[in-house]
């Protein structure tokens, strides 16, 4: 059996004696007889570290990994700079708890303060929290914080990713929030329908930018419609796109949320990921989760602390704005190191690379007979349609390439990142030509 208990059985007996017990059964005699287990748990025998490693490696080996990935839809295969991995595996960052004791947690607190500052820089907004679980829960939390006594209805665009929509709906089921879906037209939020749907009861309007199909939404116009009825405008955005494209602040968003995974986290079968969340100053005291602030210590030195805690569950209990306590601090650190490593120049380059490559692949696929379903500008994802889509994905799979996500009806949602080389894209295009022939 493996164990991390340092005490030998002799030491354990000595401790039992020192504490006034004759045996472990004696120690646990406070547990009612009827629930005290008499048999060992139906678990396997423990293993040594070496055997454990072999058994877990065998599981990893049962998964297929690809030499190139053209699938996104909420999980994006970007290059992770080596310095990111090195910094975030530092044992102290890994094993510390939430930084309650500021005096010995300045390192963690400052790293979160820096993360918050970087999220503000990316989104153009005034305040950021220390993170939530992922992009979907960030969107759900944003929706709920907009709901007020007379503003009770949440409007969410149908062009938001299904993974996100489902979570927003589930949170709404929890709080009995009135939620309605804004229909899409030609792959984007229908602004005509939205105009009909908004009213004085609208709490917020939620869109995704770029949306699930990769298209750029008419965000400014949607923001204006939301604000015309005094509703909040919530944008779920891709952080990589913000290296290049208009910020949520520039298009009038009150809240910017999104999936932070592209900022240095592996696709990892879906997690851990990072939900980022930034808002205008006016919403500062409504944000859920931890927030780090700057202050001074007893001798006037700069210091960082968890702050605005009056919002939180351990103070407010049932009146708290959210129940969140553990967030994704190490993932926030990952994002911060990634953003520091990339810098403003690197963030622009990675966004340009993603967008250029997506357009190159889209052109090639179009020529091969897999035309674009939607018109309009897109960032790094796009949808094609063409007979033999399933066969195309199958052929690519045989070549060790994970093609786009099948959406049914011969449609595929493709994604390109800076990791996709021209060589690989040409291979995809050649395969598409073969299938179409």
């Amino acid at each position: 059996m493996g164990t991390f208990v340092p005490g030998t059985s002799k030491e354990q007996r000595a401790l039992l004696e020192a504490a006034g017990y004759t045996s472990f059964d004696d120690l646990f005699s406070v547990i009612p007889e009827s629930v005290y287990l008499k048999k060992p748990l139906p678990l396997e025998e423990g293993l040594s570290e070496m055997e454990t490693e072999q058994s877990i490696r065998a599981l990893a080996a049962k998964n297929r990994t690809y030499q190139a990935i053209f699938r996104g839809a909420g999980s994006y295969d970007h290059y992770i700079p080596a310095i990111v991995k090195r910094v975030v595996s530092k044992e102290t960052f890994l094993t510390a708890y939430t930084p309650y004791q500021a005096e010995i947690s300045q390192g963690i607190l400052q790293s979160i303060f820096e993360y918050q500052s970087m999220i503000c820089a990316l989104t153009g907004l005034d305040v950021s929290n220390a993170s939530v679980y992922d992009g979907a829960t960030a969107t759900a939390e944003a929706a709920e914080l907009c709901v007020e006594r007379k503003k009770t209805r949440v409007l969410i665009s149908d062009s938001v990713a299904p993974e996100v929509k489902k979570v927003v709906m589930t949170y709404a089921f929890g709080r009995d929030t009135d939620i309605q879906v804004i229909p899409e037209k030609d792959g984007k939020t229908s602004t005509e329908a939205l105009k009909e749907m908004v009213g004085p009861e609208t709490a917020c309007v939620i869109i995704q930018q770029p949306n699930f199909y990769g298209l750029l939404e008419p965000a400014e116009e949607i923001g204006e419609i939301a604000h015309s009825v005094n509703a909040k405008f919530v944008m779920n955005c891709n952080p990589i796109s913000l290296g290049l494209l208009k910020t949520p602040a520039e298009v009038g968003a009150d809240l910017a949320v999104g999936e932070g995974q592209p900022l240095g986290m592996p696709i990892g079968f879906g997690g851990p990921y990072l939900g980022f969340m930034a808002a205008t100053q006016a919403l500062m005291r409504k944000l859920p989760g931890r927030i780090v602030g700057e202050t001074t210590d007893s001798e006037g030195r700069r210091a960082y602390v968890l702050t605005l805690q009056a919002r939180e569950q351990h103070i407010k209990r049932e009146k708290a704005s959210s129940n969140i306590c553990s967030n994704e601090a190490l993932c926030a650190l990952t994002a911060a190191v990634y953003l520091a490593a990339m810098g403003p120049q690197g963030m622009k380059e990675v966004a340009e690379s993603c967008m250029s490559k997506a357009h190159y692949l889209a052109d090639g696929l179009k020529k091969a007979g897999f035309g674009l379903v939607y018109e309009g500008e897109f960032f790094h994802e796009f949808v094609t349609e063409g007979a033999g889509s399933e066969k195309l994905l199958q052929k690519l799979d045989e070549k060790g390439i994970l093609g786009g996500l099948p959406l049914g009806e011969n449609r595929i949602l493709w994604c390109c990142t800076e990791k996709n080389t021209r060589e690989m894209m040409d291979e995809v295009i050649r395969t598409a030509e073969e299938v179409a022939r």
Binding site: P32, I56, T92, Y97, Y133, P266, G271, A329, L330
Partner: protein, 479 residues
């Protein structure tokens, strides 16, 4: 120390990306941001030194004793990290075809089997990303259950006054009214108060057992029976599961729904506040309400993803914090049936050893055998010397010891909650006992020095009032 924004120079950068190998696409100017984001412009050397300096200004389990009650700060094994970093896990897309992710699905299947064996509950979801997220999920299962039965009158969740703050906050997120019931004089559930609180409007009860004062509630079966007879369900907050693995099971105690904190009981690191993992388990007939997709083994021997019949929806994208589950599976595979029992036995043994060793100066608030943690009250010391629980906690920082949880649970005055965990040596505990004794003596001889503790940390006590009154929440370049 400098912020990373205060390091570097304009134009400084790393060489991460290759030259573009396709024609550069030029989007419409109107789509572009007006200014580049104000991110740091630093060299790799500067990044390396900056974060090494930050690391030195933090405290992890690797740096010293961390008896932070209710947080189970046990050692985080190295092998767990190595396994979660295997490319066969990290480079797998969550939307790959089922047949290409059999290993990942098997991780979830195996973990469900193991958690089921340990807890006595049948089915699990791994979507919840933290304990509080698990509470929210579990309560939604309860809500879905009552709704499915057409019993919409059940609007109340009963929570003892000793509960974690997340319990009432989670109940409120589910639209429930919270009914707080007082604890009895022994720190456990007051049965009369419970009987008076239950009724046809009771949706359920949320309970931690061992409870937040570290005591196993001897009336546990009576408690769950009272709630069940009133038509409610019982929710087990698994925050304290580290005390009872292999010793008693929530399912056998009468609980219907629970969450576990893999980042406590199953040794996955806390990461400075996440990522955690808070899987939720339910008894067999409630499995149909679980969120997301579950792996189910088909007749072909392969694992397939199936959505439970009356699934309440989805709590998070994809499968939750999967790589954290890999770490936990590595841990529990290594421990096996004897190892988990050994862990809980020693967690409880260590807590009672420390409780006993401090009894003459700080008797436990409830002086009986505790489980994996115990609560002392510094009320007497505070009255006699003016030294508070906060002062004592801050003084411990100078010994390189992370202080116990302070001022929780709310039912104990000047509380300190100590949880040594099973991975500490007797030597470490003895040093901590010695440190606490010295602080006790100093409280009488030199209380003033304790009011200003700590003295040897990189900062002294921070001004939290100003931080909240004049919030400065991001760096802004001075112009």
């Amino acid at each position: 120390m400098k912020l990373i924004f205060e390091r570097g120079q304009e134009g400084r950068h790393l060489s991460i990306l290759p030259k573009l190998d396709v024609p550069a696409y030029q989007p419409d100017e109107a789509l572009l941001r007006a200014q580049a984001p104000a991110l740091p412009e630093v060299s790799e050397t500067e990044i390396s030194r900056h974060y090494s300096a930050l690391e030195r200004r933090a405290h992890g389990v690797n740096n010293g004793f961390y008896p932070l009650g209710s947080c189970t700060m046990k050692y985080n094994p190295s092998i767990d990290e190595e396994m979660a970093a295997l490319p066969g896990f990290t480079n797998v897309h969550p939307l790959q075809a089922e047949k290409t992710v059999q290993g990942a699905l098997e991780v979830l299947e195996k973990m469900e089997e193991k958690l089921s064996a340990i807890t006595g509950l049948k089915y699990f979801t791994f979507q919840p990303a933290a304990g509080a997220h698990g509470e929210f999920t579990g309560l939604l299962v309860i809500k879905a259950y009552h709704k499915d039965r057409g019993d919409e009158a059940r609007k109340k969740i009963i929570v003892p006054d000793s509960a974690h703050g997340t319990n009432p906050a989670s109940a409120a997120m589910c639209g429930y009214e919270v009914v707080n019931i007082p604890s009895a004089s022994d720190g456990c559930v007051d049965l009369d108060a419970l009987k008076a609180a239950v009724g046809p409007d009771t949706a359920g009860l949320m309970l931690t057992n061992p409870n937040t004062v570290g005591i196993f509630d001897k009336n546990i079966e009576e408690i769950t029976r009272i709630v069940h007879e009133a038509g409610g369900l019982c929710y087990y907050d698994g925050a304290n599961l580290n005390a009872v693995m292999g010793i008693a099971r929530p399912g056998d105690m009468g609980f219907d729904v629970m969450h576990l904190n893999l980042h406590k009981t199953f040794a996955t690191p806390h990461g400075g506040g996440g990522p955690g993992s808070g899987p939720v388990g339910v008894r067999e007939d409630l499995g149909k309400f679980l969120p997301g997709f579950r792996p189910v083994r088909g007749e072909d021997g392969e694992l397939h993803l199936a959505q439970p019949e009356k699934s309440l929806g989805s709590m998070r994208s994809f499968f939750g914090n999967f790589l954290v589950v890999v770490k936990a599976l590595t841990y529990v595979t290594m421990l096996g049936r004897e190892g988990v029992l050994e862990a809980s036995r020693n967690a409880v043994l260590n807590a009672n050893y420390m409780r006993k060793a401090l009894e003459d100066i700080f008797p436990a608030a409830f002086p009986v055998t505790c489980m994996h943690e115990f609560v002392i009250s510094l009320d007497k010391l505070h009255k006699e010397t003016g030294v508070s629980a906060l002062d004592a906690a801050k003084a411990l920082l100078d010994y390189g010891i992370h202080p116990p949880t302070m001022y929780f649970p709310l039912i104990v005055h000047e509380a300190l909650m100590i949880e040594p965990t099973e991975t500490e040596t007797k030597e470490t505990m003895d040093e901590a006992i010695q440190a606490i004794r010295e602080i006790y003596e100093r409280a009488y001889s030199d209380p003033e020095s304790l009011h200003h503790a700590p003295h040897h940390t990189v900062i002294g006590r921070p001004d939290e009032v100003t931080a909240a009154r004049k919030p400065k929440l991001r760096y802004q370049k001075e112009v």
